[in-house]
Amino acid sequence: MLMPIKLKGVMQAPVSPMKDDFSFDGEGFAKMVDFHVRHGAPAIAWPHHKAESLNLTIAERKLGAEIAVKTVAKRVPVSIFVGTLSEEDSLDLARHAQKVGADAILTISPYCRRPAQEEIFDSIVRIATTVELPVLTYNSPWRNGEGVEFTGELTRRLIDRLPNYIGMKDASFHSQKYLEISRVALDMRPGFAIIMGVEHLLASYPLGACGSFSSSGAIAPNLCNKFFAALEAHDWETARECQFKISELWRMFKEQYPSSLKGAMIMMGRPVGPTRSPLPTASKERLEFLRKRLEELDILQTEPHGW
């Protein structure tokens, strides 16, 4: 039956290291996962967009899931993202995640179709009932009504329908949309985990968010951990400093995500290789710019180098 898991803090979502020929670097990935766990990650989540999930083959995603579970070796929970373009692939990845011993799956109904609320409901129910694992969903509303949006009402129906529905990755980053979900979900299922898509935690933690899936943790794990400790201590002054610094990092990385992030990781002594097309790989000039910014932000001097 359902194993209870605790999701809290700035949880790390490793990138997918690639070899120079753009093939998936399994050994590098194991090092990446281990780096995060050793630097205080309270959970590992893979493969998010930062891990180029949609540019990996289904076989690579399964291999990575196995490596992640094996490398973490129960030190912290591991969630596997099973969102794809085709629901059949998502079902397959969900079953596989359960088989190899993942602790949870994160899912979304297939993207790019502007699905109706009813279609999202059906899709999530199909995926969530194919496994016994705890299930998280991914709220990804885009502007102008595109994307896949979990409204408060949809969240209510899913909690009602699915005993293994334990949380939401929320990428709305929007007071109204956030509260539409949180006020319903936290009331119906008090331990419901609302996890911010990246670390916009200062705005959401007071309203019941339990943590984030990290964008900047690959570069600045110490900053992430300091940030969450400050939130837990209600030390808002320190939390603001950390939040604004992390926002600066996010501004650097969000364009052509995760190309710049992978570039910056090279500057931190963790070469994770190129980014798969159609996304660009950070150029030499971009790398130099990133190095300079990391130095200005005091990241280069205060965060771990190498593996």
Partner: protein, 311 residues
Amino acid sequence: MATFQPGLVHAPVTPFRRDQSVDYATYAKVIEFHLRNGAEALALPMPEGEDMSLRDGELRELLEFAVKQVKGRVPVLAHVSDAGTSLAVERAVHAEKTGAAAILSHPPYFWHPRPAMVVEHLARIAAAVKLPFYVCSPPVESPGTELTSDMVMQLIERVPNLAGVVDASLDFVFMEEVISGGRRLRPGFQLLAGRDYLVSAAALGGNGAIVPLAGIAPKLVRRVYDLCRQQKFVDARGMQEDIAHLHHLVREAGASGLKDGLAGIKCAMAVMGRECGVPRPPVRPLGEVERGRFEEAVQSLAFLKTEPHGW
């Protein structure tokens, strides 16, 4: 000038008679209600005050009336958004002469100019007055151009009397960028929370709030505001959820494709014993069945039991 801080700002509705004229007798009661129930300033006419549905002459008359009614008890912030730059400029000049304490404007209605022209539009409005100027993000996504944090930074460089931003985007990223980036360029740069969501903006270091639902639940709004001032953001969560619940009911009521909440807000005012009529056309009032359902939903909100009823 840099020290002007509007604090907890109430945004009154604009009552209309059946013949569509502004109902000034009721408007006076609305203003007095806000002043008795915790308003540290008034902002008018905000989108919830149906600014877009008022004619130029009416907008001026409404402000003159409000300033006279308030008699200096609290600052009155004048909202002067329009489609054309010169229209907004002239109304800003009029507002300053009339005795407004600050000018608010968002990017132009209807047009979608390039960012540089949006900055130009806002900078000209600000330059026409000496008052503190606040740039607002548009109240809903569609009726004009988005305000980006880059535009705000350019405005800080150009506009000496730019005091801050009124945030209606509710966007965490925008708030983070405006507060951290804005204060690097101009220490003390303000961010006022718009649209009833106070906690996130305050946690990020925001300064005050302009709250449309203050006409319905002024005590709740005041309690959340005070907790935020004391940095007790976690304690404010339950009450912010209550405000969000009320906000949800108001916005979902009515036929508006923008979910502007205008029909809902006036109906909720009536439920609280403060009849303000219905919105101006083309906004449709709630039909009989929907009105009944809405009234029941509002009446069942336990947290409204302790709010003032009647004027």
